[in-house]
């Protein structure tokens, strides 16, 4: 199903003076958001999303999604059994081999 928000290579949506299509921008969304795109393409994408009313919300959502994964994906975990095991190995058995 093609939803209304779909971004095909619709050149009619391109801003006057813009250099890239929605598809060209969206294909690079993650590289752009990860800061891995390089200055030339970053500027092109910047110029596109500043004026494209369809791409900007998509980029914003992807950015929020990635930020959410980064913030919530890393969860410390506790294991008392492991703590015990490590302390036993470190302090009881091999103290002599310490630096």
């Amino acid at each position: 199903m093609i939803a209304p928000g779909n971004h095909d290579d619709d050149r009619s949506s391109r801003p006057g003076g813009g250099e890239i299509s929605c598809r060209e921008a969206l294909d690079r969304v993650y590289e752009y958001l990860d800061g891995e795109l390089g200055p030339e393409w970053t500027e092109r994408v910047d110029r596109h999303i500043e004026v494209c009313r369809r791409c900007w919300p998509r980029f914003d959502l992807e950015r929020r999604f990635i930020r959410h994964i980064r913030e919530r994906g890393f969860v410390p975990a506790r294991s008392r059994r492991l703590e015990q095991r490590i302390r036993t190995l470190l302090w009881n058995d091999t103290g002599e081999s310490a630096p």
């Binding site: 199903m1 939803a3 209304p4 928000g5 779909n6 971004h7 993650y30 590289e31 990860d34 891995e36 369809r54 919300p57 998509r58 914003d60 959502l61 992807e62 929020r64 999604f65 990635i66 959410h68 994964i69 980064r70 919530r72 994906g73 890393f74 969860v75 410390p76 975990a77 506790r78 294991s79 059994r81 492991l82 703590e83 095991r85 490590i86 302390r87 190995l89 470190l90 302090w91 103290g95 081999s97 310490a98 630096p99």
Partner: protein
């Protein structure tokens, strides 16, 4: 005198290094996809290695980051030695279309992920195929650049881009399906 010195070093190691055990285990669990036994072994290896090298560690520098690096290296060594041949990851595009593309960005439901609890997110990361999961963990949870991930995994930068792209699409899709099944979105 030697005993006193050893005790002081042990205390410093407890204070600066072992306080990060929970975070190390958290990282190991994401890298291994929730494998508790492997994760505990990785944390143990990390701690023993850190203690062996404790003399090289400069007090007051970022001990947490140093330990995380040791753990990543331990994992990556294991990852390479364990993989006899590349896993057959399903590289077709089925299910890897952006959920946001289908929803339409103005749809209020497009921010479904903000309503998910943390353990759904970690479960979705754990469920990714290993090649995708490791790329996401190194990049998104550890903050490595594409070239750093590429070097760690011994693959071209283009492969890192592709794996990250597919991994994030799968995460979106999996989390959106969950949100729908549980009524978070209709």
């Amino acid at each position: 005198m030697e005993t006193v010195d050893r005790e002081a070093r042990q205390e410093a190691f407890e204070r600066e290094a072992l306080v990060h055990l929970d975070e190390l285990l958290g990282l190991a669990l994401r890298l291994t996809g929730g494998d508790e036994a492997r994760s505990e072994d990785l944390v143990q290896t990390t701690c023993l290695r850190a203690w062996e090298r404790w003399g090289q560690y400069q007090a007051g520098t970022n001990c947490r980051a140093w330990l995380m690096t040791i753990l990543r290296h331990a994992f990556i060594n294991e990852y390479h030695s364990r993989r006899r041949a590349p896993t057959a990851v399903d590289y077709d595009d089925v299910g890897e279309r952006s959920v946001f593309e289908e929803l339409g960005p103005e749809d209020p439901e497009s921010r479904f992920f903000e309503h998910l609890v943390d353990d759904r997110i970690t479960a979705a990361i754990d469920a990714l195929p290993e090649e995708f999961r490791v790329a996401v963990v190194l990049s998104d949870l550890q903050g490595l650049s594409y070239p750093e991930v590429a070097e760690a995994l011994d693959v071209p930068v283009g492969t890192v881009k592709s794996r990250l792209h597919r991994a994030r699409r799968r995460l979106q899709s999996e989390l959106y399906d969950y949100a729908r099944e549980t009524g978070i979105v209709s």
